[in-house]
């Protein structure tokens, strides 16, 4: 629930937007960021479907690396 996921903004109809990560598109809410602070192509940190901060691409990639490891670890342990 509380896991933050970096996503790339691909479409904006403020306050709603479409963002993408790992080829998956999802509707997100940009209400927590001022309208002029986020544009198409930006990377954002998303929590429960809400962008909470704009981050740079390098940061997004670093965080995805960790998430990938976590997910791989989770897949190995399907007992929960």
């Amino acid at each position: 629930m509380c896991v933050g996921v970096p996503m790339k903004v691909v479409e904006i109809d403020y306050p709603m937007a479409v963002a993408e990560a790992k080829g998956v598109k999802r509707q997100i809410n940009l209400m927590l960021l001022p309208e002029d602070e986020v544009k198409v192509g930006d990377y954002v940190m998303v929590h429960v479907g809400n962008a909470i901060e704009v981050i740079d691409e390098k940061e997004a990639e670093e965080i995805w690396k960790v998430l990938d490891e976590v997910m791989a670890a989770l897949e190995e342990r399907e007992d929960f």
Binding site: C2, P15, N29, L32, M45, H47, V48, K58, E69, F80
Partner: protein, 349 residues
């Protein structure tokens, strides 16, 4: 490259760590505990350094009364209870939302509530909003978008810096340093933790979730302890600003105000959560449905309260891994994937 960096950080940690005493470093974030546990970070630490999980799991501390009220609401024919997936299996004396509830739906984002409300105009749609600042701000964003008439919100929101202050004053916990949660900090700002070094002399470092970032935070803490300093540092600058997300803070406090709230197993803590401001009684499910405060009943043998406060580790609980497992959780710390018991069960410590 990364492996080299981790090796280097671990060797520096061993080199500069004060050897003459035990050092307790607490994290207050389920995702931090996750990284620490799955990466086996505890085994890389010098013997006298303890990495202890604190209250980092909002599902675990959500009051039983709020969960029971959610279950009861979902049992009404005219109502749909909407909440996050993690909440569905939280055990109470009246069962869980999944086992005892009737009309409930799961969402992964608050704005999905709007679609459910639109598709069910004849029903009361109650959004059970639980969590720390990272979920409270999105709930405020939902309200700001304008709620349909059939939507109300049942809140169970907690504040992170406030519970940390309770821990600092508790001698039984004896925290030497804090690793502050990265994403809560993105909302409240790194400066929200300033009080810990400045008023309590506790080194505090805001960290992200990569193993090397957490190791760097631990290293920064050890440097401070060695030199007798207590400062606020931020090693997650790419995401966390000193002032945080000001718009998110404004929206949160537009609709909510600080209130005394119940923490499961712990009790009422003054000004440790958020409740609706009086002018929003019309969307406050507690008022609209006149919900009672239900007395909590502890799960026999469960020490989740101690685990949440950093006074015990999951494997010190008699139920852990025996009768209490992720597929059959007895206590709240085993339910959520952010709960210390759940993480320890899945990844070992």
């Amino acid at each position: 490259m990364k492996r080299e960096r981790i090796k280097e950080l671990v060797s520096l940690i061993h080199e500069i760590s004060p050897k003459d005493r035990k050092i307790k470093i607490m994290n207050v974030c389920g995702s931090h505990e996750h990284t620490i546990t799955y990466s086996g970070m505890r085994s890389l630490m010098p013997e006298n350094i303890e990495l202890i999980p604190g209250p980092g799991c909002p599902v675990c501390v959500c009051s039983e009364s709020d969960v029971i009220n959610a279950i009861r609401l979902s049992q009404r024919d005219d109502t749909i209870l909407v909440t996050y997936g993690d909440m569905l299996r939280v055990p109470t004396k009246e069962g869980s939302i999944r086992s005892s509830g009737r009309n409930y739906k799961m969402v992964s984002a608050p704005h999905e509530v709007l679609k459910i409300a639109k598709e069910n105009p004849e029903k009361n749609v109650v959004f059970f909003s639980i969590g720390f600042e990272t979920t409270t701000a999105p709930t405020a964003a939902l309200i700001e978008m304008g709620l349909p008439e059939n939507v109300t919100i049942l809140t169970s929101q907690k504040l992170t810096p406030e519970i940390m202050e309770v821990l600092v004053k508790d001698e039984e916990v004896g925290v030497d340093a804090f690793i502050a949660p990265g994403h809560v900090s993105a909302i409240v700002g790194a400066n929200a933790w300033r009080i810990f070094p400045e008023e309590y002399g506790i080194p505090t470092v805001v960290a992200g979730f990569e193993p090397d970032n957490l190791l760097l935070a631990i290293l920064r803490i050890l440097y401070q302890l060695r030199e007798g300093r207590a400062e606020l540092e931020n090693v997650y600058r790419g995401v966390v600003r000193p002032e945080g997300n000001v718009k998110a803070q404004e929206l949160m406090y537009k609709y909510f105000e600080k209130a005394d709230v119940n923490w499961r197993g712990i009790g009422l803590i003054p000004k440790s959560g958020l409740e609706f401001r009086k002018e929003y009684d019309n969307i406050n499910a507690k008022k609209v449905f006149n919900l009672p405060e239900i007395k909590e009943e502890k799960v026999k043998g469960c020490i989740c309260d101690k685990i949440v406060l950093g006074k015990a580790y999951p494997n010190e609980c008699k139920l852990f891994g025996k009768v209490c497992t992720p597929s059959n959780p007895k206590g709240p710390c085993m339910v959520s994937m952010e709960g210390a018991c759940n993480i320890w069960y899945r990844f070992g410590r």
